[in-house]
C-alpha cells in the first residue's frame, strides 16, 4: 500500500512558468465524470493527465456472480449510448463458447439494430460535440432524430436505453409488426437530416476554425496508443472490423469504410458523418433482405422457450424452470470476441470454467484506450481546443470506468 501512496503524482512540476488547472469531474464538456489535470503555460497545454474511475462500479466483478444470461442487462450499463453493441458483443462471445448457430433472421435483425445503435450514438456525439464548440442549434436537431430511434428501441425491446434485447442464442422477442414501417420511415427521413446537419456545420467558419488542424494524431501514434474506430480511420488507417474480420453476417452487406488523412478533429467529424450515411445503407439492406425464420437458436437447454409453449408443453416448462433457476453450463474455455462498436473495437474476453456462471468477463472498451492518446492530441494547443478534442474522441465514461 505504502508505495502506492508515495508514488509521485505525474503533475508535480516546478510551478515557475506553468500552473495546474483542474478540469472536471463535473465539467459539462467532459461528457460525464472525466477529470483532467492540466498543466498550462498561459493558455497553452503543456501536460495533461486524465484521472478516471469516478464511475467505477465493478461490473466485471459483478458478472462473476451472475448466470450467463443475467450478464446481458449489465452490458447495457457499460456504454449507455450504444447498448445493443454491448449486448451483441457479449452474446457473440458466449455463443462462440457454446458453438451456437444463430438463425439468419436473428443475425440480420442484430445487424439492423446495431446500425441503428450506431446512428443513435453518433447523433448524440454530433449534438454534444457541436454544442461544446458553440453550435447550440444542432443539439436539438440531433436529439429530435435520436428520439425516433429511441422510440423504435422502445417498441422492439420495451426500453428506450437499457434495451437488453439481444439474448444468448438470438433475440428476446419477434419485433412487433409496426417496427418495420417505423424503421423504413426513419431510414427514409435520415439522409436529408444528415445533409441538414452538414449544411449547418461544414460551411460554418467558426466550426472550421475550431476543428481543422486541431488535435493532430498521426497513424503511428494512433496504433501505438490503441486507438480504434473513427479516430483511427480519421488518422488514415483503413481498418473496420465489420469489413475486415466480419461477425454476425456483416460479410453479406455492402458498405464503404470512410477514411480520412486529416488526422484532426475535422476529419473525425467527416468520418463519423460518412459512417452515419453508410449505416443507413446497411440498415436498409438488412430491412430489405430480412430472411424469414426463427429469431432464436434451436437449443432448448440454453434459449428460453416461447411463452406459449412454456404454458402448454411440459418439456418446455421444465427447460424454462431449469434455465431460470440454474442457468446453463458453458463448456470450459476462453474466447475474445471483438466488434466494431460506434466508438471502435469493443472486445469481450470471457473465461468459462464449465459452470453456469462466467469465471471472468473482461471488457475491452474503445474509449479507455483512446483516452491515452488525449495528451498527444492536446499538448501545444489552446485550453479551448481540449474541449473540442474531447468531443472528437466521443468518450463515454460508463465504458471507461465500468
Amino acid at each position: 500500500m505504502s508505495e502506492i501512496l508515495t508514488a509521485p503524482l505525474p503533475v508535480e512540476a516546478p510551478l515557475d512558468r506553468t500552473m495546474i488547472l483542474n478540469m472536471g469531474p463535473q465539467h459539462p464538456s467532459t461528457h460525464g465524470v472525466l477529470r483532467l489535470v492540466l498543466e498550462i503555460d498561459g493558455e497553452i497545454v503543456v501536460r495533461l493527465t486524465p484521472d478516471i474511475g469516478f464511475l467505477h462500479t465493478g461490473i466485471e466483478k459483478t458478472c462473476e456472480a451472475k448466470f450467463y444470461q443475467q450478464v446481458v442487462p449489465l452490458t447495457d450499463r457499460i456504454d449507455y449510448l450504444s447498448p445493443m453493441a454491448n449486448n451483441l458483443c457479449y452474446c457473440l462471445a458466449v455463443e462462440k463458447l457454446l458453438d451456437l448457430e444463430i438463425p439468419d433472421r436473428a443475425q440480420w435483425l442484430r445487424v439492423l439494430l446495431s446500425e441503428l445503435t450506431r446512428l443513435n450514438s453518433h447523433l448524440v456525439w454530433l449534438g454534444t460535440h457541436a454544442m461544446d464548440v458553440g453550435a447550440l442549434t444542432l443539439f436539438l436537431y440531433c436529439f429530435r432524430e435520436r428520439e425516433e430511434i429511441l422510440r423504435i428501441f422502445d417498441c422492439v425491446a420495451g426500453q428506450r436505453m437499457m434495451t437488453s434485447y439481444f439474448r444468448i442464442g438470438g433475440l428476446s422477442l419477434e419485433p412487433p409488426l409496426d417496427f418495420y414501417g417505423r424503421v423504413q420511415n426513419l431510414l427514409k427521413m435520415l439522409p436529408e437530416k444528415i445533409d441538414e446537419y452538414e449544411n449547418l456545420l461544414s460551411g460554418n467558419p467558426i466550426w472550421i476554425q475550431r476543428t481543422q488542424g486541431v488535435g493532430l494524431l498521426s497513424a503511428a501514434d494512433a496504433i501505438a496508443f490503441g486507438v480504434t474506430g473513427p479516430p483511427l480511420r480519421a488518422s488514415g488507417v483503413d481498418w473496420d472490423l465489420r469489413r475486415d474480420m466480419p461477425y454476425s453476417s456483416y460479410e453479406k452487406f455492402q458498405f464503404k469504410v470512410p477514411v480520412s488523412n486529416g488526422c484532426d478533429v475535422w476529419s473525425r467529424y467527416i468520418v463519423r458523418l460518412e459512417e452515419m450515411r453508410e449505416s443507413i445503407k446497411i440498415a436498409q439492406q438488412a430491412l430489405d433482405g430480412l430472411p424469414e425464420g426463427r429469431i432464436k437458436a434451436d437449443a432448448p437447454k440454453i434459449v428460453l422457450p416461447d411463452r406459449e409453449k412454456m404454458k402448454t408443453q411440459m418439456e418446455a416448462l421444465i427447460h424454462h424452470f431449469k434455465i431460470v433457476t440454474e442457468g446453463f453450463a458453458v463448456p470450459a474455455g476462453r474466447v475474445y470476441q471483438a466488434i466494431e462498436s460506434p466508438r471502435g473495437e469493443m472486445g469481450y474476453f470471457v473465461v468459462s470454467d464449465g459452470t453456469a456462471k462466467p469465471y471472468r468477463v473482461h471488457m475491452r472498451n474503445p474509449t479507455f484506450a483512446t483516452l491515452q492518446a488525449l495528451e498527444t492530441m492536446c499538448v501545444g494547443r489552446l485550453l479551448a481546443d481540449v474541449v473540442a478534442i474531447i468531443g472528437s474522441i466521443d468518450i463515454v465514461l460508463g465504458e471507461i470506468d465500468r
Binding site: E64, G226, R334
Partner: protein
C-alpha cells in the same frame, strides 16, 4: 479448424503461423504451452521474456495491442494469468499471449516500451489484481481510490457482505 491442445500438437499444426514461426525461431524455450480453440490461438510464454516476445511479434506484423488483462486462478499455482490480446491489421489475425505469474512475487516487466497503449491496461491490472509491472512509467491505481487497500477482482475478494 478443430481445436488443438498441447504445445507440440499446436506448434506442429500451425507451423506456418507467423507468430509461432517467429517465436520458434527466436525464443524456442520461451513458449511453455499452446492452445488453438474457437479459432483463437493462445500461446503461454515465460514471464522473463514477455517484453522481448512482444517486440518480436510486433516486428512480425502483429502491430496492434488490443487488450491487457488478467485472470485469477486462485487457488491454482501459478495464480495469475496475465493475458495480452494482440491484433495484426495486415494478417487480419489475433494472437493471445498468456503469462503465468505466481502469487508470491506477482510482478512482471511492463510492455509500455513496446506499446504505449499498455499503460492504462497495466495500471488497471495492477489496481484490480495487484500484479505489479516493473518499469511502468506511472504505476498507480486507475479506477479505485489510492487508499482502497485491496484488489477487488481477485477471487478471494468477496462480492457481497463485509470485508
Amino acid at each position: 479448424m478443430a481445436s488443438v491442445t498441447g504445445k507440440n500438437a499446436v506448434l506442429a499444426s500451425h507451423a506456418e503461423n507467423r507468430a509461432i514461426a517467429t517465436l520458434q525461431q527466436q525464443f524456442p524455450n520461451a513458449v511453455l504451452d499452446a492452445t488453438f480453440d474457437h479459432k483463437e490461438l493462445t500461446l503461454t510464454v515465460a514471464r522473463e521474456e514477455i517484453v522481448n516476445i512482444c517486440r518480436a511479434v510486433q516486428a512480425a506484423g502483429y502491430n496492434f495491442l488490443a487488450d491487457v488483462t488478467c485472470v485469477d486462478g486462485y487457488p491454482a499455482h501459478p495464480r495469475f494469468q496475465v493475458t495480452y490480446h494482440i491484433l495484426s491489421h495486415a494478417l487480419k489475425e489475433r494472437l493471445r499471449l498468456c503469462v503465468p505469474v505466481g502469487a508470491a512475487d506477482a510482478s512482471l516487466n511492463s510492455i509500455t516500451s513496446v506499446w504505449p497503449a499498455a499503460n492504462f491496461y497495466e495500471r488497471e491490472v495492477f489496481d484490480l489484481f495487484g500484479v505489479k509491472f516493473n518499469g511502468h512509467p506511472n504505476l498507480r491505481r486507475i479506477m479505485l481510490p489510492e487508499d482502497f487497500g485491496a484488489h477487488p477482482l481477485r477471487k478471494d475478494f468477496p462480492v457481497e457482505g463485509y470485508r
